[in-house]
Amino acid sequence: MIMNNDQQGTELDRILSETEILPSSGFTASVMEAVRREAAAPPAIPFPWKWALPGIIVAGAILGVVLIATIVQLSRGMPPTPASPAWNTALHSIEETTLRMGGPWVALALLVSIASMKLAALFVPRRT
């Protein structure tokens, strides 16, 4: 016998309205043991914002200044290069030091690390 839509809907309702699963006898004890372990564990070490914050602020400020300077230069119709020779020399020096210290490799390693962390996070449940 082929059912019509209403009959199928009712049949689906019946099948999917399942009865409750009863927990096994040791379930409560097992959960409470885990909860007590959790409560007894030392709190997670928080991110050291106190120490990291000055560095983050300084880096943000430098980035902001560079961005604003670039925007101002662009709006004046000038090429987006630093105007003063001192600024040029400083940038050259930073570039040379970065290359000497293997800056591109460090950047690549950082990118790979971040990508690995993101990939791992997809497979491991996040703990909050």
Partner: protein, 205 residues
Amino acid sequence: MEPQAAQDSRTQKGKSVSVSEDQADIEKVLAGDVSAFEGIVRRWQGPLISLAYRFCRDRGRAEEMAQEAFLRVYRKLDRWRRDAPFSSWMFAVAANLYRSELRRIPVPTVPLDAVLEPRDPRPQDGGLALEDRDQEVRNAVIALPPKYRDAVLLFYFHEMDLSAAARSLRVSEGTMKSRLFRGRKILRSKLQAAFAMRELKEAST
């Protein structure tokens, strides 16, 4: 969100769970009495395991998932806003965890059409055939695309209470309604074809 007073108690499969009992235990836990959490576990273990079972169809795994859900509820207890019913918040936390667990280790499924293929075309005992079919329908729900699967599972878990299911999924009732409609439509079309085919095969043997 429903006011707390309107949710004086919640009935889950015929059992009335008092909101004030939950509230009292939560206050104690937050004050440092870890053992008060046992009351919450005892009252809600059935529903949380049942919900997990609907997601994974494996009793052992369902208990593991429910235990992790209780741990997560314990860790986040101070984040429960008193304007929302505790049960709604707890089910939302649990449903979120169960969905992540299924993304991490999916339930082995086969394509929907294959799920409903008859295993033995010979006529069977009526009761057993019905039981088999019910199980196949439940497996077919698991094989649905996740957003429709979650909507269907939570709607039936909440005894067809659309707003409760929407709160557990943290979506609007409109979104819930449309996902549910689409999910049931996919299920119906697949089931219709599969059951018709089965009946034909059974009639020919």
